[in-house]
């Protein structure tokens, strides 16, 4: 074995020396032979001739020996690659186009796969992540998470898992040496790290004893992430036991978490992790740990050995009613939610990832589309290589006549393509990385950093390498096969050459056309649905308006103070120059917020109409004029309302729901579910009652993709806002308004974080980022497809014109006019396009139907779009055929006939 290795080594790397040795040996043999002949009495001249005859060719002998050696195959592979590199260098134009084409396909696939990997495939960095189950409370893509009591009840009833952890992320104010910084933090239940099976790098992790009110016996303990430890404590081992002040509470560092662990929520960081009981500090004086209707927990469990996700799901189905009843014995809070949301269990392998929920299906769609693009790139490369092979048929024929085996010729062409693919791979990785980075930044919410890491991962690179090898094979196999089948006799004929390459073009170009039609149809469908949503009537008309997110959570203000501050800010803004008007709203539209409450009305017979899902919105008096939602009946708020009895404004659909077509103005609505507070009595206090003074047009707060929700507008300060509220400011000068907002917030609430300012249009675009990304990318893919198809068609027709030059010349000489030549070429191109289009149309109908099932709200049956796609393709194909056709028409008969 060892000697074999040394042989191999010697044959490959000490090749020259071995070769010299061999040369000398064969020469000495021939010398000895000559000597022998001379001794036998033959004259030297004759002897040399005889020796040569007997020896055969020196080179052939040497070749035989080389072939017998260990590792001979590798040597010839090297040879193939060296030869391939030389040929490619000699044809820089061809090489550049082929490499670019492949790089485009490989790069696009790398970019999309980077996203797919980061969003769908990546697991939490914990042992056996496939055993994790995540519990959700979902309605469509909206996942509220669980409330404290739901978590407690579920933990008690759940049988399929060993234990459940609860996690929530939170911005924390960490004080170090008198400087306060906002740090991404999280809270975790005491059993959390046991469920995750995560060991600390240093110190220890939490146990149940650390997750008690006021922390453990030694107060609150805190864990820090590996990167926080490296960045803020220089990786010092003495960090354990140090104390920090977080949100005003002294805490002690208990341990350092393992490298790479950034919590269980994708796209978020958790640099400091506290026990769940710290929530009483965060949300003092109104902690929500035991509130059944406050949903703030991400709950993850680890399956029992042998249990499956299905077990967990069926277990949940059986127990969810008792879980609900135990979490909310009064039925006051949860019954409404359970009407709209469902408890569920899904794989917790990647933790909680809103991106995963939202983007799983779009990414599958993108993977399909980008796969088609790669197919096109391979087809184009195949055409290019095929053209090259037919140009070189003579060379191949000669080589085969000289004894090159078919396999060797096959390998040679394949090595050329492999080399192209390798260059394409390198360029594709760079291209893919760039594209992935910009895609990821498209996913970011307004004012937020990109939620994902787009840096190349080992898994992504492996994927890219695999698709490169595949594309090299797809693009190279057929041309290589052709090359290997070249009959030596072809070297002598010329016209036979052309036929073989044309035959394949007959397949490749229609395939390209078909794939392009599919991509075009998909792109126009996605684009159309994006524009449709973009211009959907949101119910807001905020031209010349900016919005701002004022998040005073770190300032720890009570709702009363926050509401007061909000009003102060609006007053300050209204009086500042450059601002026309301003208003506050408690929950922003289209930002993924979800807000719901229970109200009921009484009809003329005293029967209650309850609405369990109505969106409450607290606004300042000028809100409707600022945001542009028209008042349909009655009036908007005015300042005098603030001091009078409670009033409210309903959206059209809310009014309809409460009063079913009857006059709504002047009627009353009451807070709470009728089943809870009404028990035959009249509505409780004036606090819970409000009179309807107006009906506003419907507005879409949650999503443009769904029908508008029912909204009840309350007046600030009759209703209060939370510490995170929104400003709407109308102004002709956005920069001035932006500055005014910052100024007003800074003046009113000293130490407040800088508000995030955005326009409504930005909000809509960010809200529709899924559609935007899909339509933008599919448009890119379609454009690439068109370009590649045009190039393929152009290349094929041009070649044909060159090949049929003589024939065309003859026709022209015999009296055909140039127009006939033009038509000849155009007709040829057209035939390929028609065949491809028919196949493409059928495939497009199927593909768009598939998309309709994958993407919610997409209506696939749009014949107009299909027609548009085919028309676009025909125009491009026509343009691509024109140049070769024109060239055909310009063939000079005399010159063409003299040619050859």
């Amino acid at each position: 074995m060892l000697s074999r290795m040394t042989n191999f080594w010697r044959n490959i790397f000490a090749k020259e020396k071995t070769d010299r040795d061999l040369d000398e040996e064969v020469r000495s043999y021939s010398d000895l032979l000559v000597q022998e002949k001379i001794r036998e009495g033959i004259n030297p001249e004759e002897a040399r001739r005889a020796a040569k005859l007997q020896l055969g060719g020196v080179e052939q002998v040497k070749e035989e020996v080389r072939r017998a050696r260990t590792g001979a195959w590798l040597d010839s592979v090297f040879q193939d690659f060296r030869y391939a590199a030389r040929t490619l260098r000699k044809n820089p134009g061809f090489s550049a186009i082929a490499i670019l084409t492949l790089a485009l396909g490989i790069g696009a696939n790398t970019a999309i796969f980077t996203l797919t990997y980061a969003v769908i495939l990546k697991s939490l960095p914990v042992p056996n992540p496939q055993q994790l189950v995540r519990y959700t409370f979902r309605s469509g893509v909206q996942d509220l998470g669980l409330s404290g009591p739901l978590y407690d009840a579920l933990r008690k009833h759940e049988q399929a898992t060993q234990d459940l952890l609860a996690w929530t992320s939170s911005k924390l104010a960490v004080q170090e040496n008198s400087a306060v910084t906002n740090v991404d933090g999280a809270l975790i239940s005491g059993n959390g790290f046991r469920v995750l099976e995560l060991q600390p790098v240093m110190g220890r992790v939490f146990t149940d004893a650390d997750d008690q009110p006021a922390g453990g016996p030694n107060g609150y303990q805190v864990l820090i992430s590996y990167s926080y430890w490296k960045d803020h404590f220089q990786g010092s081992p003495s960090v354990i036991g140090r104390s920090l002040i977080i949100n005003g509470k002294p805490v002690t560092i208990l341990g350092v978490l393992s490298q790479g662990f950034q919590g269980v929520i994708a796209g978020e960081r958790a640099d400091v992790v506290l026990p769940l009981s710290f929530e009483e500090v965060l949300n003092a004086p109104k902690p929500m740990r035991h509130h059944p209707g406050s949903f703030w927990l991400t709950v993850i469990g680890r399956l029992n050995p042998g249990a499956t996700l299905r077990n967990a799901q069926s277990n949940l189905l059986a127990t969810q009613n008792s879980v609900r009843d135990e979490a909310d014995p009064s039925h006051r809070y949860l019954s409404g939610f359970f009407a709209a949301f469902q408890l569920g269990a899904e794989s917790g392998r990647s933790g909680r990832s809103s991106l995963k929920i939202i983007y799983s299906r779009p990414l599958i769609v993108l993977e399909i589309l980008v796969g088609m693009v790669l197919l096109l790139c391979c087809a184009n490369t195949a055409l290019l290589v095929l053209a090259r092979v037919s140009n070189r048929l003579r060379e191949f024929a000669v080589r085969s006549a000289l004894g090159a085996s078919g396999r060797r010729l096959f390998r040679q062409v394949l090595s050329e393509v492999a080399l192209l693919a390798f260059c394409g791979l390198l360029a594709g990785i760079a291209l893919g990385w760039l594209a992935a980075t910009s895609l990821v930044s498209m996913l970011a919410a307004i004012g937020q950093p990109p939620p994902l890491d787009a840096a190349p991962q080992a898994a992504v690179l492996a994927f890219t390498a695999v698709i490169s090898v595949l594309s090299a094979f797809v693009a190279g196999a057929w041309p290589a096969f052709r090359a290997s089948r070249v009959a030596p006799i072809l070297g002598l004929k010329q016209n036979a050459v052309a036929a073989s390459s044309r035959a394949l073009g007959k397949w490749i170009v229609p395939t390209q056309v078909a794939v392009s039609v599919v991509l075009l149809a998909v792109a126009s469908l996605l684009g159309q649905s994006f524009f449709h949503l973009l211009h959907e009537d949101s119910g807001f008309r905020p031209e010349n308006a900016v919005m701002a997110d004022v998040d005073l959570t770190p300032n720890k203000l009570s709702e009363t103070v926050a509401t007061h501050d909000a009003q102060q800010i609006v007053d300050a803004l209204t009086s500042s120059t450059g601002v026309d008007s301003a208003a506050v709203m408690s929950s922003p539209p289209l930002k993924g917020w979800w807000s719901s409450s229970h109200y009921y009305s009484l009809d003329h017979n005293g029967a209650a109409h309850t609405d369990m899902q109505i969106w409450p919105e607290a606004v300042t008096p000028d809100y409707f004029s600022v945001i542009g939602t028209p008042i349909r009946e009655g009036r908007a708020f005015n300042r005098a309302d603030a001091t009078a009895a409670q009033v409210c404004i309903l959206s059209v659909s809310a009014a309809h729901n409460f009063f079913s077509g009857e006059e709504a103005l002047g009627r009353f609505v009451y807070t709470g579910g009728s089943d809870v507070s009404l028990d035959g009595k009249s509505p409780a206090s004036s606090q819970d009652t409000c009179q309807v003074i107006g009906v506003a047009a419907d507005a879409r707060f949650e999503s443009l993709r769904e029908p508008p929700e029912r909204v009840i507008y309350h007046l600030i300060p009759q209703n209060q806002v939370g510490s995170d509220f929104f400003l709407v400011v109308r102004s002709n000068n956005i920069p001035v308004a932006t500055a005014a907002i910052r100024e007003a917030v800074r003046k009113t609430v000293p130490g407040a974080p800088e508000p995030t300012v955005f326009t409504f249009d930005q909000l809509v675009v960010a809200h529709l980022h899924q559609e935007r990304m899909l339509s933008a990318l599919s448009a890119c893919f379609a454009a690439v497809a068109l370009l590649l198809t045009a190039l393929g068609l152009y290349g094929l027709l041009s070649r044909n014109v060159v090949m049929r030059r003589k024939e065309i010349g003859l026709r022209l000489a015999l009296g055909a006019n140039p127009g006939d030549a033009l038509v000849l070429v155009l007709r040829q191109g057209l035939r390929l396009v028609v065949i491809g289009s028919v196949v493409g149309l059928i495939a497009a109908v199927a593909t768009t139907k598939l998309l309709g099932t994958l993407l919610v709200g997409l209506q696939p049956n749009k014949p107009l779009l299909l027609i548009a796609a085919v028309t676009a393709l025909f125009l491009v194909a026509l343009a691509a055929s024109c140049i070769p056709a024109w060239r055909a028409a310009r063939v000079d008969p005399m010159e063409a006939l003299r040619y050859e």
Binding site: E25, S28, Y29, L32, E64, R69
Partner: protein, 110 residues
């Protein structure tokens, strides 16, 4: 036709070379002359078969080679049997003995 012959006789060629080298070290031409001699001219080994076989057998570890002077002061590469080569010759001889005996019997019987 020669191609077929060498293929058919590859195993035989190895054995012949081993046998030729059994007594003394020899260079390429010497080996082919010796084979001709011991087979009474039945086998004529062409360089195109001889050299690949020598190199292959050297890689197998049956032969070692070294440069030396030929009888008439020419530089030549000499091959010599190793221990492994001797063992190989023994086992080859036995194998061939069995095969030729079996074939002989098969042809005698009728």
């Amino acid at each position: 036709m020669t191609q077929d012959q060498t293929n058919l006789l590859q195993g035989t060629l190895d054995m012949m070379i081993l046998k030729a080298l059994a007594l003394d070290q020899m260079h390429g031409l010497g080996i082919s002359r010796r084979i001709e001699q011991i087979t009474k001219g039945t086998f004529q080994v062409k360089p195109g078969s001889l050299f690949p076989a020598l190199h292959r057998m050297e890689e197998e570890g049956w032969l070692v080679s070294s440069w030396g002077e030929s009888e008439n002061n020419r530089r030549a590469k000499y091959y010599r049997l190793t221990k492994a080569g001797r063992r190989q010759l023994e086992s080859e001889t036995q194998r061939w003995g069995r095969i030729s005996l079996a074939i002989a019997r098969a042809l005698e019987a009728s």
